[in-house]
Amino acid sequence: MSPARLLVRAIVVSDGRSARLRDVLDAIAEQTLRPDILHVALPEGAERPEAPDGLAVDWRDGSRTYSEGIDAVLAAHPAHPAELLWLLHDDTAPLPSALAQLVATAKKRTAAAVVAPAHVRWDDVSRLVSLGVTTTRVGARRIDLVDEDDINQGQYDEREDVLAASLAGALVRRDVWEELGGLEPAYRGYGDSLHFCRRAWRAGHDVVIVPVAKVRHAQDGLTGVRSGSSRGRNSSYGLRRTGEWVHALAWAPALAVPFLIVWSFLSAATRAVLRIAQNESRMVGADLGVPWRLLARLPRVPGMRGRIRRGSTRPASAVAPFLVGTRAVLSTVRSRELRAYDRWRAQSAPSDVVRGELADAALRRRGAAALVAVLAVAASIALHGTWFTALVSGRMLTGSALGVTDVPLDEMWERTWSGWSATGFGLPALDGAFSALLLPAAAAPGGLRVWVGLLLALGVALAAVSAWFALGAATRSVWARGLGALAYGLWPLHLQAISDGRVGPVIAHVMLPWFAMGLVRAAGWHRGEAVGGGEEFPARRLPSPSAAMGAAFSLAVIVAAAPVLLPPLVAVVLVAGAFAGRARWRVWTAAIPALVVSGPGLVAAWAAGPLTRDAWAILARENGPALASGVVEPWRLVLGLTDHSRGAPGLPELPGTLVVGAIGLGVVAAVILAVASGRAPWAVAAGLLVAALGVGTAAAAQATVVVHADGAGEAAANGFAGPGSTLVAAGLIGAAAAASSRLWLAGEGRRRSAIRLAASVAVTLMAGVLVASVVVEAWPGRAERGDVHPASTEALPLVATLEQRLATHQRVLVLTDTDKGVDFTVLDGDGTTVVTGRAQTAADGAPLARPGSTPATPASLAPTVATLAGAASGADEQLAAWGIGVIVATPGSDMIASSLSQLPELRLIGASDVGTSYRVARPGSDAIVSRAWVEGDAGEVTVLDSDSWSGSVDGAGGGTLVIAAAADEGWTASADGVALSPVDDALGRAAFGVPAGADEVGYRYEDEAYRWWWWGAVVLVAWAMIGMVPLHDRRYRAVRS
């Protein structure tokens, strides 16, 4: 078919929402070869722009979609032989010679069904937008054959046959258009060109690109201009991505379709995670929506496949050479990343001089960082060197506040997952943040024993290194950073927290610098590297979304470890956000994970009456190890002192305080200098305000009783001043460091010399103070600050811990002789465990999760223990009722051991140097003592297999299901799938009536509110963790149509 004269019917379809229609018409009018007929399809009622002079326009009221507009025109005008359709959008303006060149090619390439032009940018015709597209063999990824914004230097002019090209501005043979049935509606406008072209190839036609023919394309639909979206290309991402998957489904072998659908879900999930890492949170929904959109379009796929099958004359292998493989995809992705990197580098490329200075600074910085790390580790070893050897030799750290630290992973997991605290007879927990926080440590090789041990032993070093990195945002002076970092690491209240085994405040002290750094970088307030005569590099620091996520994650960790810091730090985030300008939302989001992690506490505080002391006690609660401590004056808190620091060895009150508080005094002196100097005023003011918040928090915390006796052996304690004092340290040291920035270059002439001399003296003094402090703290004769010490991991005899681990999950009663009687505790694990986190009770003993309730606690066993102490019979009934199967008399407790020996109902099962163990038998039954059992009406007992919060058994029979744990509304039980109703139990245990003949009986603890908060916290913290990965935020390459 080579008619001398081709008929070109130009069709411009507009949805009436583009302002460029007039320009398009002008461009058509300026064509060297005008189309023979021009139709413009507009929606009904749309405003018609004035047609250019001399251009005959056939106005048509069509439908809104592109495809329908064309169909309406074609329906009204019968086909001519050799008719070509020139399909134009209302945002595609052909350059004057475009049509002539397209027609020339169409004449030459008689087999071509589609002759497409190159797309160039609307505003810059030298930049390419599209020059043909292809797809992968699977078809679910569209590959552009040119890079967007590539400069057109004629390098692609040789290109002819392509798999596909955008139909916008292309000439399409009308007979082929009608043969193929026009555009495929399932694509909703994105990907239909590719589909059409691919079908054309299969139907025996060619698709040709004409690189010299250029069409300006504004991509209004793609960039969201049409829909009025402010999100640019992202607004059409979901539709584009769905189009790609529809293409894959349409062209893949039939058997592969189900796999592709599954794959689409996996791909969406992976991309969603990547989106979070890129901090494109709004795109997460778009990506996650893609497979669902795909499912919605699934009904159209069989029809598409049928049309492809019927219309194809060439085999599928005919287009195979056009499709690209994995390697090409990878190289496309890589070149995209490299281009983005190149652009970034080109924008911020330093000069060679600056580059040299940066290299010098980096060398200095790395050397100083290494030195600080070495010194901090040396200080840790000097203070607690014996802990390292103990940890290596398999022992654990323990202490009256810390409890045992060799807690197995499953115990940590059960605590955080179930929301049931197994301490004592169990209590509903307010939150599971603390055990979740330590869960990774329990899961890591070595377990909680090693990692909690290292956290405490290296507490000084970790805090110093954290502070080193954070102080880099305040000053680039390695001296100020180093001294500030060591002062922060050796802060006396931090040392106290380490020696007391207060894991939470130690974690908070280590994490606070990271939070501060994240917040400062999120707002773009950090310092650049000092270069030249006082400039910074880069000159303008950009706010970092990843840093905001890092701050969010750090804050979540901090409030899980030390909830008392939530109010002051949220206040800091709010104020910082208010000053952060355009980054304010990023900064404010840093508080969200922490607020959700603390959600249950906030709700409980609100319920306790906001702005009351009770509410404050809940906000200031301590999740982990806690200990009563002496209340000290606020000025001591500013110096980081505790009541333990009232004297150094051989020194009376005031000189002793001065020696121990020397670091604090040095820091305060530095801040006074900073205020007087007037340098870095905003940073200094912010630091002072943070310190003021810290003093208030510390004083309010220590004045409040935050841990109440819970009836399971825990002593009441007031709040620890440490977390507040951490804020003081961070604020003061940060302020001093910020003011020291570029001090070396301050002033001129003699003044500069004087400043440098004074700075050198101050640095030397502070270094001396730090060294002296370590020496004073590590002085051999000095009393230990706390009672953390290494101990064997075996707290209970093996026979006792084995019984705890079996499916019967027995409790162990531990008895110790005292001068006046006996002490006891009821254990669920190998020793008193605090690091799983406290259930949190109010002053009246009610759990905060269940205000007003009065759960049974081990305190109710005191008379039973007295009975045992008197060697009187009858104790076994109470003990078995609470699932206590083993009694252990601790080493040296001969009085109680001999009392137990006299009781015929107890059986000696072992004596070792960790205690003497006796087995408790269940009175009136042969069944072993257990955590839960079904008691038949005739007294027969069926034991359930249990863990700390759930259990089940087959073949139970009817009667009463008794769970040897405090009754709570969270307990649910079922028999053969039917929920059981609770019955009252005289002892306050959870009990359920089991119908006769029941077979499968199970129970579990379910707290819906806890579960919601738990998942909310997990999702947000995971989000923050992925988001804080510093991936560069690069725009996804658009798929254009």
């Binding site: 003011a685 305000l689 003093v695 004083a699 009187a872 001969d894």
Partner: protein, 439 residues
């Protein structure tokens, strides 16, 4: 300028925060109160030590005057459901006793022992390890579990460093010669602390004066340390001597008074007696026909009296005397519980002390009144008693009394009644975390 103000403003806020923070009133953490309970141990059988042993062994020299042993030994065990334990016996009833008469040899005399139930902590005031004296501690464990007894000794110089720890098997008996623990202590007080259900302790005090026996008797369990004690039955013939032995574990100032049948008797120089902690002090008691020593102290003390009765030597040097002795443990007057004792052979009288005026009666198991006497406050009485051996006597509460035993030719002994109720002991139960051995 604004920058300057910002910094100064922030500094002011910081200083104000420090000042304001000092005004927050601190709350005190409330410690959970420990549980104070009373435990009533299961009733345990009473136990007696058995016959006395001759400290040097039964040496037969061929001459009955020179031999340590004796051919005239009568030993009587009285009690319900007795069964042997070691050399001694257990009895199931409320009271049981043993009495032994040895006519000659080193341990000649009457030795009576009241059987008692095991306790964890008991004091025996009496005994001596001076030259010629032997103190044999007999520990009997009537319970079904083994027990470990720690024996602490107190002498004239206070608590002694030497201690002994004795394990006693269930239903077993162990002897401990105190002279093997510490010798040359003329005045002893013994504390026995045992584990489990406790132990029954008796101390055989045997003395020789050269070749002549100076007396043998069982030292029974005295009252636990208390501020008010009474030692009844200190009355004795003219030539006998009575010595009161006192010890205050934590030191005390003691006032002693002597009560006779007609009220208080003059006893000079014993008011405001200061007892150093742990130091055993002996005080001579004036000779009186019938009387009791009242002890009032400002801190807990333990006490007992020893009565030593001389008799002419039958066959020996003209100026030599033989003696017999009896130990009278102090009794607590404040508990106001009735006490019971088992009558044995040789019981001749009951010696009573009344703290308040009233009628004292002794009844037997059937409730029949065996003896009765109207008494004035702070007076004593010696009531002759004629009851068959094996009679269980119960005295009126609030009176302290003991049974006096006598036999020719000057043998004496004493049976002290015991409380028959099961005493409950206070125990403090606390909840405390446990972190492992040594934590």
């Amino acid at each position: 300028m604004i920058r300057r103000l910002v910094v100064l403003g922030a500094a002011t806020v910081a200083v104000l925060a420090v000042v304001a923070a000092g005004r927050i009133a601190p709350q005190e953490p409330v410690a959970a109160a420990p549980y104070d309970g009373e435990v009533t141990p299961a009733a345990q059988p009473v136990a007696c030590p058995g016959p006395v042993e001759i400290p040097v062994g039964d040496i037969d020299s061929g001459d009955p005057d020179l031999g340590s042993g004796s051919d005239e030994r009568t030993y009587q065990e009285l009690g319900d459901g007795t069964e042997p334990v070691g050399a001694g016996f257990l009895a199931a009833g409320d009271a049981a006793a043993s009495v032994e008469r040895i006519g000659s040899g080193d341990v000649a005399g009457l030795s009576a022992a009241t059987c008692v139930a095991p306790v964890r902590d008991q004091w025996l005031v009496g005994g001596s390890t001076a030259l010629g004296s032997s103190a044999r501690l007999v520990l009997t464990n009537p319970s079904d579990a083994s027990t470990e007894a720690t024996v602490t000794l107190y002498g004239g110089l206070g608590e002694l460093e030497e201690r002994a720890v004795v394990s006693i098997a269930p239903g077993g008996q162990q002897d401990l010669l105190l002279e093997s623990v510490v010798a040359e202590v003329p005045a002893l007080a013994v504390r026995v602390v045992a584990t489990g259900a406790g132990v029954v302790a008796h101390l055989q005090d045997s003395r020789l004066d050269g070749f002549q026996p100076a007396g043998t008797d069982w030292v029974g369990r005295g009252a636990a340390p208390a501020a008010r004690l009474v030692v009844p039955g200190v009355g004795a013939p003219e030539d006998s001597t009575t010595t009161l032995r006192l010890m205050a574990p934590d030191g005390a100032t003691v006032n002693l008074t002597l009560a006779g049948d007609d009220g208080l008797v003059e006893w000079g120089g014993v008011s405001g007696l200061v007892l150093e902690p742990g130091v055993v002090t002996e005080v001579e008691v004036p000779t009186i026909a019938s009387g009791a020593v009242e002890i009032r102290a400002d801190a807990p003390v333990v006490a007992a009296a020893m009565r030593s009765v001389p008799r002419p030597v039958v066959d020996g040097p003209a100026d030599a005397v033989e003696r017999d002795l009896t130990w009278l443990p102090a009794q607590d007057v404040s508990d106001r519980t009735a006490r019971s004792a088992m009558v044995t052979d040789h019981v001749v009288a009951v010696t009573v002390h009344a703290t308040v005026a009233g009628e004292f009666t002794l009844t037997d198991a059937s409730g029949a009144v065996v003896a009765s006497q109207q008494m004035a406050a702070r007076s004593t009485a010696t009531i002759p008693l004629d009851a068959a051996a094996g009679t269980l006597l119960t005295g009126t509460a609030r009176f302290t009394w003991s049974l006096a035993l006598e036999d020719e030719p000057g043998f004496v002994s004493t049976l002290v009644p015991r409380r028959t109720d099961v005493e409950s002991t206070p125990v403090t139960v606390g909840l405390r975390p446990y972190l492992g051995p040594g934590s």
